[in-house]
Amino acid sequence: MGKIVAATGNEAVAEALRQVNPDVSSAYPITPATDIMQRFTSFVSNGKVKTEMILVESEHSAMSGCIGASAAGGRVMTATSSQGLALMWEELFIASGTRLPIVMALVNRALSAPLNIHGDHSDGMGARDCGWIQLWSENAQEAYDNTIQAFHIAEHMDIRLPAMVCLDGFIISHSIERIEYLEDDKIKNFVGEYKQLNPLLDLEHPVSYGPLILTDYYMEYRKAHDEVMSKVSKVVLDVAKDFEKISGRKYGLFETYRLDDAEIGLVILNSAAGTSKDVIDEFRSRGIKAGLLKPRLYRPFPYKEIGEALKGLKAVCVLDRADAFGGSYGPLFIDIASSLYPYKERPVLFNKIYGLGGRDYMPAHAEQVLSELVEAAKTGKVKQIKEYIGVRE
C-alpha cells in the first residue's frame, strides 16, 4: 500500500520524478511549471536523487541539454509551460526526429499575447504535431500516474519517442488534492533499468547524431516515424495494464464516463472533465442519457477507437480549451470530427471554446452545453458549429 497525502499537481509530478530518479535533467523555470523543478532541484541538493541537474539560461537550452544527455545515453526529464514550450519548438522536433525518449511535464498555460499565466491548452495544442507522445491528465493523481507511465512508454524499445505529460496550470498544478503515492521500490521496478540505444558515450561503438539527410532519405525517416506513432497505442495499453497491477488504477487511451448507453456526450480534456462529470450525473438523475469521453493519449490520437466509442451517439459537443485560429474549429474538435468521418451514421457535432486564459469553467457551462445537446439530439440540427462560451458578448 502506498501513501495517501494531500498534495498539489506539481508536488505529485515532482514526487514521481524523485521516484523515477532520472540520470539527467536540464530545466529553466516558468510559471506554473517552476514549482516542479524547484522541488526537484531540492531533491538533487539534498541527495534524494542521483540526477545530474543542468540549470540553463532558456528553455531552448533546457531542451537542447535534454537532447544531448539523452543521446549520450541517459534517462532524461524536464518540465515547462506556455512560452517555455514555445521557445523549445525547434528542439521538440529534434528530440522526436532523433527518437530520444525524454519525458517532459507540461503544465498547460495560455500563450502570449496578451500575456497570461493561467490554465489553457494553447501550449500543448500548438505542439501537438511535433512527433511527441502526449498524455493528458485530469487531476494530480493522473498527472502522477501518467508521469510514471510516460517513462515506460517513451523508453519502450518499439517506440523510443519523447513524451509530454499535460496537466492544467494552477487548477491542477497548484491545487491540493488527495493523492496516493506508490512505494519507491515499486516505481523503481516499474520503470526498470534504463536501456540505452546507440549512446554517444559508448566509446567502443562510436556513433554520430544529427546528420544532414537530404532528398534521398528524408522521406524514409518520416515514414519510419509515422509507423512508430502507429505502435504507440498498443504500448500505452500494455503499460497501463502493468501499472494497474502495482496501483489498482485503470488507464486506457481515453476515459469514458456513463457513455455506454448515452445518447448525448461531451468530449473534453483535463480538469474540466471532472466538473462535467458532476453535471452529467445530474442530467442522468433526470433520466437524460448523457455521457462523457475524456482523451488521455492525445498524440498519437486514437482516431479509430474514439470513433467507435462515439459513433452511436445522437449528438456530441467537443469542448476546447484552446482555439486553433485556422479559420475553423478548436483542435480537439478537428480530431473528433476526423475520427467520426468514416462512419455513415454519426452524431451531430458542435464545438465550444471555453476557459481560455484560465477563465473558470463552471457547472452552469456544462449544463448549458448538455441542454443544447438534448435539443440537437431531438432535432438533428446544430444552431452554430463553433461558439465561445463564458465570454462577454
Binding site: 526526429g97 532523433t98 527518437r99 530520444l100 523510443r160 540505444l197 546507440n198 561503438h205 562510436p206 556513433v207 554520430s208 547524431y209 544529427g210 546528420p211 539527410i213 534521398d216 532519405y217 522521406m219 524514409e220 525517416y221 515514414k223 519510419a224 509507423e227 512508430v228
Partner: protein
C-alpha cells in the same frame, strides 16, 4: 549504391558506421574549383591547415594535389595562400569552363 527503404534506416538517423562521411562526395556541390600552380608554391601548407574539408592532400610532408571528391570550392585555401613574390599558388576557376 542501393538505397535503403524506410524499414531499414536506423531510428533517429543515428550514424552507426564510423567514417561513413567518406561516402558522401561533397565535391559535387562545387561551383568554382581551386587550381594549384606548383611553380608559385612555397610549401607552407597553409592550404592544408585551412581547408575545412581535408581536401588538400599532403604526401611525404609535401603539398600534393586537391582531392576534388570532397573540395566544395569555398576558396579559403586560395585566400590564405601566400604564394611566391605576390603570385598566388592557388587560383579559383569557374567550374565547367
Amino acid at each position: 549504391m542501393k538505397l535503403k527503404n524506410w524499414k531499414e534506416v536506423v531510428p533517429g538517423a543515428v550514424v552507426t558506421e564510423a567514417g561513413s562521411a567518406l561516402k558522401f562526395k561533397t565535391g559535387s556541390w562545387r561551383s568554382s574549383k581551386p587550381r594549384w600552380k606548383e611553380e608559385n608554391c612555397i610549401q607552407c601548407l597553409f592550404c592544408w591547415i585551412y581547408c575545412p574539408d581535408m581536401a588538400v592532400k599532403v604526401k611525404d610532408g609535401k603539398r600534393a594535389e586537391f582531392d576534388y571528391d570532397y573540395c566544395k570550392g569555398c576558396g579559403i585555401c586560395a585566400l590564405e595562400c601566400p604564394g611566391k613574390k605576390g603570385q598566388k599558388a592557388i587560383v579559383m576557376e569557374e567550374e565547367g569552363k
